[in-house]
């Protein structure tokens, strides 16, 4: 049985060689016009020249690459099989509950690879790194809101309120009490979580449209308070000169009296250091959020969130305290939004109520819905689409938002459940000898 199962996933070296030859042949066919032939400008007239060595190298790379890729896939699959078969009948490994679709796993890892290396390739291009940072803020907000909307099924139109609470908590603590970014981060998270419970408590009995209206109002209340409570929040003028985050106490600024990041590591000071540092900081925060949320989803509380989304009455009949489950979803979603807010305040150095309008809530919600409710990778793709589309559309000036709206409509027509609507089970029953 075991060998039979293995045989369906691995192929013999001869077959692998054949496969690579076929790929090389296709590469050759494509390569002759594209690489093998080229035009050279010779005294004003174009003449066709040949580049056979380059073409040969191209075909060789395709051949070798195919061999390696095929080998890697086989290794990966065989490894997965042995791991699954090692699992006992009665004790299902909850560890095997990771993404069953290898394609999505690969896309996820590839996205992580791109995210990690992006500043290396674009270290001199501030615009790219800045835009990527913005995308990551929205990814993190999307992952946070995913807990409330995607998992627990509580439609929250005021998520930006928690983002604002996080940002203002850091802004006030930093400018009035001299707290650093790292000290304020947990406090701001706790503060936002408290606000999550404050919002959650009176809305426990509400669902769907009614809940959406109350949360919408809550988001506006927080913004209006920030505009009007001038002593606390600076009113419409906001809070300025918020300190930037430090690298373990080393500041990222031009050389001065204190040791800075550049002087400590003996580097020449460059303003791009700070941009890249901020990028990696939000990347780390977002990745921690991702790991945290995907682990929570596989715990009893995560399953209870999803069950609450599916059927609240059935949850009660199973002995689940609906109040605690809902409040925990609100609190954790709000906490993650608060963390993102702290980062936002630290990155901008200036916050005002204008950054926390309803349209922000709408964009974050659109990211979750477009991505596919509950899908982590979907949020990344949707955030890319929603942040990059308006950026790319800058050339179209006033048609920009039209383009944006049209893209959203098209996604919803083609993929009504979101870009990645597939729900991955939190655990999987694997019987002995079963190759699934």
């Amino acid at each position: 049985m075991a060998t039979l199962v293995l045989a369906t996933h691995t192929i013999s070296p001869a077959a692998r060689f054949k496969d690579a030859v076929a790929v090389a042949f296709i590469a050759l066919l494509l390569g002759i016009p594209m690489i093998g032939l080229t035009t050279v400008d010779q005294g004003g007239t174009l003449r066709v020249a040949t580049r056979w060595p380059t073409l040969f190298a191209f075909v060789a790379v395709a051949f070798a690459g195919r061999l390696i890729l095929r080998f890697a896939i086989d290794q990966f699959k065989a490894h997965q099989l042995t791991r699954e078969r090692a699992v006992d009948v009665t004790t299902v490994a909850s560890a095997s509950g990771r993404a069953a679709s290898p394609l999505l796993t690969w896309v996820g890892w590839a996205a992580l690879g791109v995210a990690l290396t992006l500043p290396i390739f674009f270290s001199d291009n501030r615009y790219v790194v800045d835009t990527a940072t913005t995308v990551l803020i929205y990814v993190m907000l999307g992952w946070g809101l995913n807990v409330v909307v995607g998992l627990a099924g509580l439609l929250d139109l005021g998520y930006v309120a928690f983002y604002a609470v996080g940002a203002y908590t850091y802004g006030i603590l930093a400018t009035q009490f001299g707290w650093s970014f790292w000290e304020a981060l947990p406090v701001a998270g706790a503060m936002a979580a408290t606000f999550g419970v404050i919002l959650g408590w009176p809305t426990l009995r509400l669902r769907g449209d009614y809940l959406a209206i109350v949360t919408l109002g809550f988001g506006e209340i927080v913004r209006v308070i920030l505009v009007n409570w001038t002593e606390l929040s600076g009113g419409p003028n906001g809070i300025a000169s918020i300190p930037r985050p430090t690298f373990f106490g080393l500041e990222l600024k031009p050389p001065g009296d204190d040791p800075t990041f550049a002087s400590f590591f003996g580097l020449e000071y460059s303003p791009s250091h700070r941009i890249i540092f901020l990028y990696y900081l939000i990347l780390a925060l977002a990745l921690i959020t991702n790991v945290f949320v995907s682990r929570m989803r596989k715990l009893p509380i995560g399953r209870a969130w999803e069950a609450m989304r599916e059927d609240e009455i059935a949850c009660k009949a199973m002995g689940i305290n609906a109040r605690n489950v809902k409040l925990s979803a609100f609190a954790i979603g709000a906490m993650l939004g608060g963390f993102a807010g702290v980062f936002f305040a630290a990155r901008m150095g200036f916050i005002s109520p204008e950054s926390f309008t309803f349209s922000e809530s709408a964009i974050i919600l659109a990211i979750v819905v477009l991505g596919g409710m509950g899908s982590q990778l979907g949020v990344v793709l949707a955030a890319l689409v929603l942040v990059l589309l308006p950026e790319l559309g800058r050339d179209f000036a006033e048609y920009r938002m039209l383009l944006f709206g049209a893209a959203m409509v098209m996604i919803m027509v083609w993929k009504p459940g979101g870009i990645l609507a597939h729900r991955e089970p939190t655990m999987r029953y694997v019987a002995e000898g079963d190759s699934r």
Partner: protein, 279 residues
């Protein structure tokens, strides 16, 4: 009729009023441990309302529902919220119009039913978040229990399928399996045979008898399918317009003049009882 020892559940003078409508009128009923008690009556007689009052979904207007819990002693179910009725009193119900978690797999449905034990073991999710051994043991145990019930109800092949994608009869069984994962003392089944074919009904009969005799679970059964009720029940209570009109063994009920009148007079659709009632 009922055993000499104190009943597991005793409902006393239960009344449920919705504005001017008297849904349940001064109803009393004893449910014995390890026995199957059937509750029948024409449509709209107040059977499901009775279940809702027992399991904390409605607060009865008057009357009391007492449970003799072997470990916790006397419990007043009418004072408890619905999740505590299931969790603490271990009185678990199913629903007339199946309420599964449709997008979750069958196995996940059964894991959600064990939420309280698992949540306790995960120590507010901290032990679970860091994958501590104590939590992993509890999770393994919960999975083993879920798999055990899935195997006995012949649902194991569908463990990884989304519950909402399965046929109706299977969903009924999943709902029972899920309720069993809560470790019920008293299992309240609201029309478990509705929509089942004759073969599935016969299987349900065997399952219910097995649960009561061998697992020691008391069962309270609302059912229209007389082939199920008359076959499995030890004791039957008949409701009409919210009032108890008869109570006794299946043979006794089949000959009761009030019951025959209630069914023939009120609802043409339920003629089976009449057919059954004639020996």
């Amino acid at each position: 009729m009922s055993t000499a020892s104190a009943p597991l559940l005793s409902v006393e003078r239960l009344t449920m009023r919705f504005g001017g409508l008297l849904a349940i009128d001064d109803m009393s009923l004893d449910v014995a441990a390890r026995q199957i008690t059937g509750v029948i009556g024409p449509n709209g007689a107040g059977k499901t309302t009775f279940f809702n009052c027992l399991t904390g979904f409605y607060k009865p207007t008057e009357g009391s529902v007492r449970l003799n819990h072997p470990q916790r002693g006397l419990m007043r179910l009418e004072t408890l919220p619905s999740h505590e009725v299931a969790h603490k009193a271990q009185v678990v119900r199913t629903f007339q119009n199946i309420r599964l978690f449709p997008k979750m797999t069958v196995l996940e449905n059964l894991m959600v039913a064990q939420h309280n034990a698992l949540q306790h073991a995960s120590r507010f999710s901290l032990a679970g978040l860091f994958g501590l051994a104590s939590y992993r043991r509890a999770e393994k145990k919960a999975i083993a229990k879920a798999i055990g019930w899935l195997k006995r109800l012949e649902l194991i092949d569908k463990a990884n399928t989304a519950a909402g994608d399965l046929p109706y009869g299977m969903q009924r069984r999943i709902e029972i399996a899920r309720a069993l994962c809560v470790d019920p003392l008293l299992l309240c089944l609201d029309e478990p045979a509705a929509g089942l074919n004759p073969r599935e009904s016969a299987e349900l009969n065997d399952l219910l008898k097995h649960l009561a005799r061998d697992e020691g679970i008391a069962i309270l059964l609302i059912e229209h399918d007389m082939s199920v009720v008359m076959n499995v029940s030890d004791h039957i209570c008949v409701l009409n317009y919210g009032r108890k009109i008869a109570e006794g063994t299946p043979t006794h009920i089949q000959q009761d003049a009030n019951v025959i009148k209630a069914y023939l007079g009120e609802d043409d659709a339920d003629e089976e009882l009449h057919a059954e009632a004639k020996p």
